[in-house]
Amino acid sequence: MPLPRRLLVANRGEIAVRILRACRDLGIETVAVHAPVDAGAPHVCLADRALPLPGDSPAEGYLNRAALVEIASRCGAGAIHPGYGFLSENPSFAAACEAAGIAFVGPPASVLRMCGDKAEARAAVEAAGVPVLPGSGPVDDAEVRRAAEAVGFPLLIKAVGGGGGKGIHLVRSPDDLPGALRLARGEAQTAFGDPRVYLERWVERPRHVEVQVLADAHGGVVHLGERACSVQRRHQKLIEEAPAPGVSPRVREALLESAVRVARALRYRNAGTVEFLLDGDAFFFIEVNARLQVEHPVTEMITGTDIVAAQIAVAGGAPVPFSQEDVRPAGWAIECRISAEDPHGGFLPSLGRIDGVIEPQGPGIRVDSGFRTGCVVSRHYDPLLSKVVAWGRDRSEAIARMRRALAEYAISGVDTTIPFHRWAIEQPAFLRGTYDVRFAEDWDGAAPSQEAERLAAVAASAWLRRRAAAQPRDGHGAGPASRWIAVAREEGIR
């Protein structure tokens, strides 16, 4: 089954870079698209061809289905990879691609529609004999109260068209229902263009475990093992690892088997993730993420596979390029998501220009970045800057290497979640592998150690002395070469 000769990546940032790398490795020519602010962005530089999206808006171009299909057709791309977010789970985009004779690298429209309707997917999975949490179908404002009482408090409001933690709100009591509903609908509309939401029972301290599956058009379904993703904040994952710690072989086996059953029940195709909540040894299906996941590298690191390459092959009609027996996980992998957010300020977005960076390297470390020196972090896009993945022969080696990588990582220009991660991997619950989804609530960025305060005072006075010494140089300190660099960097912003 031939691979496409040319593929268009309908995304930006680290995931576009990731997909471009897979194409390079497969010898597939690549086409990047970009909004005006993204000319010169990393994903543009790594593609063989780069074409501008229509319009001036930073985000709308990446959501412009007609323009993307038209560009792909015009430049002879035989496939489109949507990445995650944007149009990745949009059935009509998948349908438009197929109608134009372009392979959509993801599930077919029918499967996207099924998985995208979280309520319908729940029902199908339940029918297949996989346990699900109590929940409702899509609710309107009038009936929400009654539906909520049926599900029971506390509960979650989730977007029917959702995924990626967007639009999810926890409601502890009937009083909070109207406000949360309003916010959830607003976010769902913004993120997915669909204001529908549904309710689901909230488990107090569950663990989040998911299974990576790959399915082809010939009935082949292979799982690539599970991932633990319980380090979350506001339903956004922060740290993921594979295998999942603290899961007994019996439960793991049942999870993996259930995930394959879910994929078959939904007639799934391409790469997908079946998400479960674990409550003790009991587990419940929550949803299928019908796309490439942010955290797919941890699975790649322990299996030696290239999930994006497999996606492209399967999208072309090929069977999954390996059998279940070929998948022999080795070692342990952990991923930390590095976002431009201020962990000491409520994880609010931190915007600005990145004027310098040192990224971790060395044995066992993989970094997937979507930025570089000179990039501007704006409010228009997801704050994810990069992902650090550490592999070790066992969990403790993986943690040790992650500790080292986080110590090496230096980003200048914006606040990032690196300090949070440095904290997280040292917590007893993390080191023991017994953490649950409430783990990140213990982060308290407001209490520096005495030692940190002492060092900060020393650093601050050294910094002030240094600046005082540098100031008289104004006007003649930087030679022409330096000046030229500065100009180049300024121009690199766009």
């Binding site: 916010l183 004027d355 200048s412 949070f420 440095r422 060092l455 005072a457 020393v458 050294a462």
Partner: protein, 164 residues
Amino acid sequence: MNFEIRIRGQAQAAESGDGVLLEPLAGSECWTLVVAGRTVPVRVREQEGRLLVTIGADRVEVGVRRASASSSRGPSAQNGADRFEVRAPMPGLVVTVPVAAGEPVRAGSVVAIVEAMKMQMEVVSPAAGHVEEIRALPGQEVAGGQVMALIRVPASAPDEGAAR
């Protein structure tokens, strides 16, 4: 030039000069601090007259004043005792402003919703009172910390400052 350095309001004995080095690591903010042979990566960011120093998982706010006196500019200096500034918690786009000048609000009432990076956040009034002035309109972009509304409260406001 000499500086007075304060952490949590307390002046710090500035260990000076000898054996302390600050080597550039990355960009304008990242350095390697060398203290008596020990090396520590630090990030130093200047913000509103303070230095924010990140070391490992910790962030330390360092207040700075030139030892040669100069006027302090505390962030709440202009806050009248009976008036609160409602500030944008992050830079973003104003989605809605459900209140109007003159309207009464309760503590926790939503004054505005701001969106950034596809997340929406409610901006609430810190106290009960009346909206004195609205300074942000739907569709407008606001900077983090920008004043979006003024709330006048009846009396005896606690020393709590604006919403964070």
